[in-house]
Assembly symmetry: C2
Homo-oligomer: 351 residues x 2
Amino acid sequence: MSVESGEERQVSIGEIARRSGVARSTVSYALSGKRAVSEETRRRIQAVIDELGYRPNAAAKALKEGRTHTIGLVIPPASQRLTDVQLGFVASVIDAAASADLDVLVSPSGGEHDRSFERVVSGRRVDGVVLMEIRLEDDRVTRLRKMGLPFVGIGRTARPEEMSWVDIDYDTLIARCVHHLADLGHRHIALVNRSTELVAAGYGPGHRAQAGFTRAMAERGLRGVQVCCADDAQSGVSCAERLLAETPGLTAIATINEAAIPGMYRALSQAGLQIPRDFSIAAVAARYLAENLHPPLTASDVPADELGAHAVELLIQRIADPAAPYRHLLVAPPISLRETTAPARPREPLT
Amino acid sequence: MSVESGEERQVSIGEIARRSGVARSTVSYALSGKRAVSEETRRRIQAVIDELGYRPNAAAKALKEGRTHTIGLVIPPASQRLTDVQLGFVASVIDAAASADLDVLVSPSGGEHDRSFERVVSGRRVDGVVLMEIRLEDDRVTRLRKMGLPFVGIGRTARPEEMSWVDIDYDTLIARCVHHLADLGHRHIALVNRSTELVAAGYGPGHRAQAGFTRAMAERGLRGVQVCCADDAQSGVSCAERLLAETPGLTAIATINEAAIPGMYRALSQAGLQIPRDFSIAAVAARYLAENLHPPLTASDVPADELGAHAVELLIQRIADPAAPYRHLLVAPPISLRETTAPARPREPLT
DNA sequence: TTGTATGCGTTATCAG
DNA sequence: CTGATAACGCATACAA
């Protein structure tokens, strides 16, 4: 067995300089190219670097430059499973950041005084932050603004002009779902929102979905019912069961609650209702989820890839020029017709 | 409207010292408590800190201490959706790290000379690394060892005694699936593995699943078929279609390919086969996936939470004492009987 | 073309 | 109990 070349202990720029017989600054310049270095010297230095495997110490560089080449990504507490849309955001932000040679520090932060969040934003550990799951009134936004740390929201507060963000137009999308269902003849439609706590806490998408639902139902002259539902399949079951029991004429659901959808499917099928023959569902959801459900879900597919990448782009711009005006991106992807909506059919045939 | 206190520009310990009329070191000690500071002085310092919102600069601290209080998490390239088991690992590692007051730097690294991976490991940006999706021969493991950077694998190489890891015992689990199916009278069973590329690249779980399958089938005197399948639903469809077409007597599938499972369901149902009456499936998968499928999947539920948390624990220990012996955790969770396995029934009744 | 000196913000060490 | 100083590794202004 050949002996592995020993451990590459951390080598400093001083070590390289000594071994190359030049000054530290010369090594630095040879690497950065910010001033001319003779070919001869450059080669000698490079040889030593290759041999010892030198890599600049990130902490020292950050201390000197005041930049970390790292962005923070604040996600909902990872303890409970993220929704597919949320996962899509995380993946695309990480990917986009990697493409821009930025590292990503992930902070699972829910509560008010979150240690992880504080660490990330207050020690200058990152050059900027992408913030997920923003509330209409959000302490973290206030905090970031006060810190003077560049940030971009995936989602927006009640005063959206005061920050950069990308967002999904839940208002418009839920309205479209309603119109689509109404066009199919549905007269009793329910909106299944996210959890009571989330909506009560001023979760933007929840409120905007409500608004869109109320408006569209009014426009069509329909009266609907709105319910909140926790973000999991089991809650989806009980929510759908309750809805069926308490709203006799109900023939369709519009929803932004991805996690509850598999549960709704189950409850419907257990009630002997076939989708979409007896009952229709239209949603705002991740394409992955929509396609893998049985039957495939008619939904407005959230373009998480695009939004995440755009968020990173906006953040990079804010970092480069913190004084630049805020920028926004609001998307309303079209509904992809799959197999969960069909013409209304009375649930209990009148005798 | 009250005027917000202006931006908290980054304040250094020197600034605090000056305003408090003490030396920098005194501020440091007042904060760390590593040497006695008079109550009087401590109060004055604290008052200034509270007023200015001082937080130690992480880069300076890291430079001085040689520790970053950050761990790296190397995940598969996020471009393609991670499997539910992988997502479970990511979430639990992030959560466990946050509980231990560690930040997590996520690196989506697939290829050999990945820039993101290099940045994370070679600039001393992290104190240690959790490595996912390890190959039997893995360059990244070699690299980390050479760097002398503590690391823990979720998964293991061909020489598992040379590193710390946690892993799922795919060998045993697939064998259990086979025995379970054989007990139900199935005589023709297929193993649906991960993608050809992954297995060819020496992906451990793929190889170990093969081994367990081959052994168990031999023990039961059965002959099976093994196929590779890409990690997505569409591939699951075509894979199952091909299997049904080419292996007439086939009545059951054992699989470790989570992402393909929804596709297999679809193909089976399109072929007019009802699960589990006409065809059985047993798998190793995430509980979330298993429970939300229709019908719910009989599977060995991977305890990703436990494994991820344990990986972080092992990593913390390795960071604390790099000379300590390597430690390992191999888990083989029991099969949760749900609704996709039943007694074998010939697919094409003999005439 | 290259070398010297300084400072980024911390904390440890040595003095007082 | 507290102050001054050095050092971590790097980048850069200044000097030669």
